[in-house]
Assembly symmetry: C2
Homo-oligomer: 592 residues x 2
């Protein structure tokens, strides 16, 4: 990937700001494609060690391949042996076994990055071949390199990844690192949580992609959909990330840098001001109480929940328990996780959403979904009902944890009443089995349903009759109502929470809950957007669940709200059928 | 794929009947996966020719590979040469160069089938290998075999595919051939149209898959989702396909065969009876006129439209013009196609839907969509608005054709008003350019929109204000409302036109049209389902568009309808929130 190296002049790139705040720091590029290989520089005295590490890896892969060749049965097709020989030959070839060492020495970089750079070059040569099937042979090169990189990554002691990054950045004027990637998969995200990046910026993604959710959950500025950030920005270049405006400034001038340092301070001051209302109850001017709950992914998030002043957990996403490893977590492991959260919340409600896997969140990150439209496929409660043993295990674990606090169960992706009824039967079966084993659980545990499929919102009254509470998942509801995949760059600009049809479905669901006396909350991204708080209050919403980092700014809106005024405003908004007019009307809310 | 060869006993397999009627004939298996290789038997005297054909193909591929190796530049990576050598070695190996000839001789089958069988065996051996990257090397075997098969198929003169099939079947007692496939892609479908199969049966698919639409468009019985039909049925076995019941009977006993021949005659008799109402106007008992229009894909379909007694074309799908070739059809080619249909319809309305590509229908069948959820991506009007030149060309072609009859323009996949307004601007621009060139077109041409995204149905009144007419695309509307991909086997059973939310959206759209005096039609599969005709009339629908083969059975329902009674019934149905109860209620319609 050739880059213009003479870009010392300042320039800016525009994308979608998905997490507010300002970060100033050095760009840290991660490479493309299958191999998300990290790049870091090494001090001179470690170069020889790095080359030795590389030699060891090549040698290990060679031994592995030879061992596989030896172990082949006599009946194995002759081709298999031939492939091993081909791969061994590739491995022995100068291009893979020697040139990367030159790169390590010359660029003072880590071994993984060096061999990856070399591979990219070879792949480019393959890409230039006209014959299609030969062109595809580049996959073999990729596979051999992948083997080497896997071995390299399997020796983390010798790859001082994080500490070297710090070493490097401390030497810089700006001691923050900004991750620049093409995209961040949910699996990467888990890994990146351990690093300490000051901001994320990516070429693709949208406001509600996993990267966005991750950035907000880490409470760091983030800009997505920058298109060519990775091409335009050089590793280690100084950049400013303005998450509120969605702008990245590369190589800022001294004046701009000074200006942004000021703005950064102001931003932090504002955040501190918000801290003052942390202990304040979320009550409108007219005295209406609004519950502000938090969304969490792992038990460790409870610390942030407590710090935010949230009065409960409105959405505990359990799939992260299932995604970070190969096997299924057993009942005991789940029980302990749920119990830990429940006990830490000390009697405040903890709403546990049952498994929402399928679609973009796969149980095994290596599995590539084979269905054409995973978002319209076997996911969430559909998957659980088709795998009742997994579902029962989770329900038992949740029930057992309910003995230790105030747990509520939330079922994702309901579209028909019969799914709900099947779920109730399984829940009853789980309870029965616990009773037989004399295991205690909360006999009064309540069951709620996510309203996130248009069919469920349209049929909300029927669902409200058979549920104890409802939670509107606006991210998916918008996606299906508009038929827009929010993670698809080609159409992401059409994704809009203020589409009149979306507002109508949300309103219908809230009203259905009101009529039947069943609480309704919103737990999608809309709930955490302070610009929409007063609209939702006006529409009748009294319970919001959002990332802990948004609680205070939403609370500030609540404190300035007057229900009767907002009801009128909301009614006017709902009467409009043009998105543009709705956006204008909603902007006026913020005057109050 | 080992098959139980001793299956001479009769048995039946159940699937989803997607096209009614009864077929009795010999099974014609097409092979799996990438290579949809046809299997046919050869008379003894042609076996030597077939082996010679195979030898020639192997030789040709060898020469091709050697030529590629010779043409490699000195700078090419060493691996490339090595791969060619590996593939040449595979080609020379007995397993690919000799064993298929033994198979041809022993099984008296065509060369493609023989080498494919052999490949399947080798691939199975690879699949048993534990090492993941080696296991994937089976792709090389597949590629070499693909090369051979492509060469074989490139010599159709020597592969008397179709004529030999006929030769063979004429000798049989039953002179019909039934296609047994794993699946039929839209691209295959176009190819299969030229064959003359008496029925289609496939392992996968659902009621509204492309295979189903194709079967109905060919008016031949068809059963999908049979799971393992291809494993259980042997090539050339006698089978009965009962498309109405969704049952395949393999190796029927004499009694069953006789019974089914009788039923087949009765079915044909009923079809003939329906022919009597062909010229009858579709009017209810109480005198309400119902328009029954036809859906078509290619100008040739007009013959069937005329034969059906349809009073217009409610949906002319133009994408088939774009799918069957590599380049874009130019304005002239499109103009001629639209003009041909319009002139043939002699003043009856012809509703031309603008390009609905993207999602599952790709312009180039070799392109694999890279977006995660194509159904929620850049398709239909979204794609057209992002490629205004393609859109303008089509609009100009439609406008020019409008001079020769009664054309209406229909825009697919609208979700926001701004898409509609952008479309209107482009249409105006197309008109302006024609006026400047003094090219005549219908200045009163009307513009309609497909209501198939939930957002559009919920916002139907706003769309009705800015459109001349609306057409409900129930297939997509159901898909998005329920978040169910109708072609995904794992969830196809959840796809249900009678979900209360679906009926509510249809009803809302019809009512919005009524209030604003804008005609509304239904052009999805629901329109052609005679079991739903009276429900839809009761809901206020007065215009149906369906495959020509359904016109008469739907008309029969219209002739027995009394609007006031059906209105009451429909209201009762719409009050229900349980699918099961709705299904029961709708079944009662048929008593009238």
């Amino acid at each position: 990937m050739p880059k213009q190296e003479n870009q010392q002049s300042s320039f800016s790139i525009h994308g979608i700001g998905v997490s507010s705040g300002i970060a100033i720091g050095r760009a840290h590029l991660v490479s493309n494609a299958l191999l998300e290989v990290v790049h870091y520089q090494l001090p001179k005295h470690l170069i020889d060690d790095e080359i030795a590490r590389f030699n060891t890896a090549i040698h290990t892969v060679k031994k592995d391949l030879e061992a596989i060749r030896e172990s082949l049965s006599k009946n194995a097709p002759a081709e298999i042996g031939a492939f091993i020989n081909t791969h061994l030959m590739m491995l022995a070839d100068k291009s893979l076994s020697e040139i990367p060492k030159e790169i390590i020495r010359k660029e003072q970089c880590n071994a993984e990055w060096a061999i990856k750079q070399q591979m990219d070059g070879i792949v480019e040569q393959f890409d230039a071949i006209e014959d299609e099937y030969l062109r595809e042979r580049k996959q073999d090169v990729v596979q051999v390199v992948e083997r080497v990189i896997k071995v390299l990554l399997g020796h983390p002691n010798q790859a001082p990844n994080q500490s070297s990054t710090k070493q490097q950045t401390v030497k810089q004027q700006e001691n923050a690192t900004i991750l620049v990637a093409h995209d961040i998969s949910p699996a990467d995200a888990i890994q990146f949580k351990q690093h300490h990046f000051a901001a994320f910026i990516t070429d693709v993604g949208g406001a509600t992609s996993h990267t966005a959710i991750l950035a907000r959950s880490l409470n760091i500025p983030s800009i997505l959909a920058l298109q060519r950030a990775r091409d335009l920005i050089n590793d280690n270049e100084l950049i400013i990330v303005d998450g509120s405006l969605g702008v990245v400034i590369v190589n800022p001038s001294k004046e701009v840098l000074a200006e942004y340092k000021l703005r950064q301070e102001q931003w932090e001051l504002e955040q501190q001001k918000l801290q003052r209302i942390k202990a304040t109850k979320a009550v409108t001017i007219c005295g209406t109480v609004v519950e502000l709950h938090a969304n969490i992914e792992v038990p460790e998030d409870v610390v942030a929940v407590k710090a935010s002043g949230a009065t409960g957990i409105g959405l505990y996403r359990t799939e992260f328990l299932f995604m970070n490893k190969r096997g299924m977590p057993d009942e005991e492991e789940q029980f302990l996780a749920y119990k830990q959260v429940t006990e830490a919340m000390k009697g405040m409600p903890v709403t546990i959403r049952t498994l929402d896997l399928g679609a973009d969140k796969q149980m095994n990150p290596d599995t590539v979904s084979s269905c054409a439209n995973p978002a319209l496929g076997l996911r969430a409660v559909r998957l659980c009902l088709s795998e009742p043993q997994i579902f029962l295990t989770q329900l038992r674990a949740i029930l057992r944890a309910s003995h230790f606090g105030h747990i509520k169960i939330l079922i994702p992706m309901l579209s028909t009443l019969s799914e709900l009824r099947q779920t109730k039967l399984l829940l009853e079966r789980a309870k029965e089995s616990l009773r037989k084993q004399d295991m205690p659980f909360d006999e009064n545990i309540t069951l709620g349903g996510m309203i996130e499929v248009p069919a469920a919102a349209i049929n909300a009254e029927a669902f409200a009759k058979e549920l104890d509470f409802m939670s509107i998942g606006t991210n998916d509801l918008i996606q299906y109502t508009l038929a827009i995949d929010r993670t698809d760059d080609a159409v992401a600009h059409l994704y809009n929470a203020l589409h009149p049809a979306v507002l109508k479905l949300i309103s219908m669901t809230i009203k259905a809950g009101e009529r039947l006396g069943k609480p309704v909350s919103v737990c999608g991204e809309m709930a955490g957007d302070a610009k929409l708080t007063q609209l939702l209050i006006g529409m009748g919403l009294r319970q919001f669940s959002m990332h802990p980092s948004n609680i205070l700014s939403v609370k500030q809106q609540v404190l300035h709200s007057e229900v009767s005024v907002l009801n009128l405003h909301a009614r006017k908004v709902l009467n409009h059928t043009d998105i543009e007019k709705i956006e204008l009307k909603v902007a006026q809310f913020n005057l109050h």
